[in-house]
């Protein structure tokens, strides 16, 4: 596999104007920033590192993966869920204000040179990066299906984005309020089993982003079925530039040397081959 345009292009840091900021579901917000350079350079799977508080609280930035970018209008969008101090403070930012932005960061999704079919599986706030990826793949003629999972109906986000991209969507919710009741990985498993043709390694990839149990289950499914799969991980981050070594994930030591068993989610990731991850 190779990255389409090589490693990430240059990141920038500046105070980006907030063009829109709205609540889209309970605890979920969409923020649109004017960031022309980021919009032009970002690739699917990359993220931005945002300073949520103005004066030291919270101290550290928070990483958010991109929902999509628009190089023509110079805008970038991301969706976040309020889970702690950082996101709570960010939710109070109003349109017209500026937020300190660093990005684009991280290694983007990769795809095999002869990709024809792809499944996107997203859980919760792992759904948005699949929209950016889905658009990219569609624009390159890849057949895409999306599998979305969430705790409940209200948190199944971005469905309209996939519809707009003409990507078929299948849904599972934990409480059964929308789509199939239960795990989205089970749903994917059923659908894959029903398909007449087994995809080849060169022509297919499963892309995964979501909560750890979901990613682990999806990675297992891919392994059992011998399907290439990539996961986009989330981890608490310090610098997000590869310096603090704070955001590591343990990877299988082969073929890498044992001293490289902890890799940085911000730099070697956030996208990894699914089989490389030691799930904890």
């Amino acid at each position: 596999m190779k990255s389409v345009e090589g490693l990430p292009l240059g990141m920038v840091q500046f105070k980006a104007p907030v063009l829109a900021h709205r609540r889209m579901a309970r605890d979920h917000y969409l923020m649109r920033l004017s960031a022309p350079l980021v919009a032009r350079r970002a690739l699917p799977g990359q993220f931005v590192h945002v300073r949520c508080g103005k004066e030291g609280s919270p101290l550290l930035r928070r990483p958010f993966s991109l929902l999509d970018v628009n190089p023509k209008t110079g805008t970038i969008d991301f969706i976040y869920k309020v889970v702690g101090v950082g996101t709570r403070v960010l939710a109070d930012v109003r349109s017209g204000e500026r937020v300190d932005l660093l990005g684009p960061l991280g290694r983007p999704f990769e795809f095999p040179s002869h990709l024809e079919n792809a499944d996107l599986i997203g859980g919760g706030v792992g759904i948005p990066p699949m929209v950016f990826l889905g658009r990219w793949l569609r624009e390159r003629g890849v057949e895409v299906e999306a599998f979305l999972g969430a705790r409940t109906k209200e948190w199944v986000i971005c469905v309209s984005d996939f519809k707009r991209l003409k990507i078929p969507v299948r849904i599972a919710t934990d409480d059964g309020t929308l789509g199939r009741r239960g795990s989205v990985v089970e749903l994917l498993k059923t659908v894959i089993a029903r398909r007449p043709e087994r995809p080849t390694k060169q022509s297919y990839t499963l892309y995964i982003c979501g909560p750890t149990p979901m990613m682990r289950a999806a990675a297992n499914l891919a392994r059992q079925r011998n399907l290439p799969a990539q996961v986009s991980l989330e981890e608490r981050m310090g610098c997000a530039m590869g310096c603090c070594m704070g955001c590591v994930v343990e990877v299988t030591t082969e073929p890498v040397a044992s001293h490289a068993r902890f890799q940085r989610v911000c730099t070697e990731g956030p996208v990894f081959p699914a089989e490389a991850i030691c799930w904890r």
Binding site: R61, G246, H259
Partner: protein, 319 residues
């Protein structure tokens, strides 16, 4: 009068007092993609160990009020890979001094590291990490024991002509005793403080927030402790050049450390919050001095005005 930001720490002259702290700046290249790191006074590398180290399990960091807790475990590429892949970039830099931070598990390892570095040009000083709180062996073991500190520094001192900086741990009862010991061993410069040992708890899960349970606390939360220790050491050893470290976020923080006796500073956690913090700090420092008609940051060093009854009020140390 134009402001001249240069400072002297014994034999080591820096173009300005703003350095970046070990472990927060990699080996310089990463931040060079955002701004010209040639403006810095010095770059202190991430700790180098003899062999590559995998570091500690995740999670490794957690944010706490006005600070962060980390337990990285000195993950680094090891000495030989550093020499081959990291040092060439640092040597090409024109502005900043290059300070290599060393972490050993034994006195012998520190000596071996030092000797090997002697074969290379473009290194201006060594900083001995005798204060990492997150390693089972080495690190803090040395930094909390005056006799060990003195012995280690003396051994390293004997095999290099480069300025030796001892980086002190705050996790001691008497910082002055450790400072004296490092000085007795022959340290040219002292840098302080490393992180404070701390613990953060997830009370929902009844678990520690980071995998190794305890970690090192950094950021604005520790600044008062750092200032106090710099001031104490400066009072006791007024002739020893000090590098102040601990929660420096802006130029005002730098001036506070200098007033307490630091001749230079290291910016650490601030690099994560605002990657261009050192750039803004330098601008701010220049402005601070200009506003007060001062021509050099040296005129701040140790000038904290303290009540007369305090014995050993810092003597004036000329830069």
């Amino acid at each position: 009068m134009a402001v001249d930001l240069s400072v002297r720490l014994g034999k080591l002259t820096l173009q300005n007092p703003v350095m970046v702290a070990s472990g927060t700046f990699g080996y310089g290249e990463e931040y060079h993609r955002l701004y010209d790191v040639n403006i810095l006074g010095a770059i202190v590398t991430k700790s180098i160990s003899l062999k590559a180290r995998p570091g500690n399990p995740a999670p490794r960091i957690y944010e706490t009020p006005s600070g962060m807790l980390n337990s990285i475990g000195l993950q680094n590429v090891g000495l030989e890979a550093f020499l081959k892949t990291k040092l060439p970039f640092l040597r090409r830099l024109k502005g900043p001094k290059v300070i290599v931070n060393l972490a050993g598990e034994s006195v012998t390892e520190y000596v071996t590291l030092t000797r090997r570095l002697e074969e290379y040009d473009g290194i201006d000083a060594l900083e001995l990490n005798i204060s990492c709180p997150n390693c089972e062996r080495g690190g803090i073991e040395f930094g909390v024991d005056p006799a060990l500190t003195e012995r280690l520094v003396a051994k390293v001192r004997r095999v290099t002509r480069r300025p030796v900086i001892a980086k002190l741990s705050p996790n001691v009862t008497n910082i002055v005793a450790i400072a004296r010991a490092a000085r007795e061993g022959g340290a040219d410069i002292l840098s302080l403080i490393n992180t404070l040992l701390g613990l953060a708890v997830d009370s929902k899960a009844w678990r520690p927030r980071i995998a190794t349970v305890t970690g090192g606390l950094s950021g604005p939360a520790i600044k008062p402790v750092a200032l106090r220790m710099v001031w104490q050491v400066h009072r006791a050893l007024p002739k020893v050049p000090l590098i102040g470290i601990g929660g420096i976020m802006n130029a005002e923080d730098v001036t506070e450390f200098m007033l307490c006796g630091a001749s230079a500073v290291q910016v650490g956690t601030a690099n994560y919050v605002n990657p261009k913090a050192p750039v803004e700090i330098l601008q701010g420092l220049r402005r601070y001095l200009t506003m007060r008609s001062l021509t050099s940051p040296r005129s701040l060093v140790g000038k904290l005005e303290t009540p007369r009854h305090l014995k050993g009020v810092p003597q004036v140390v000329s830069g």
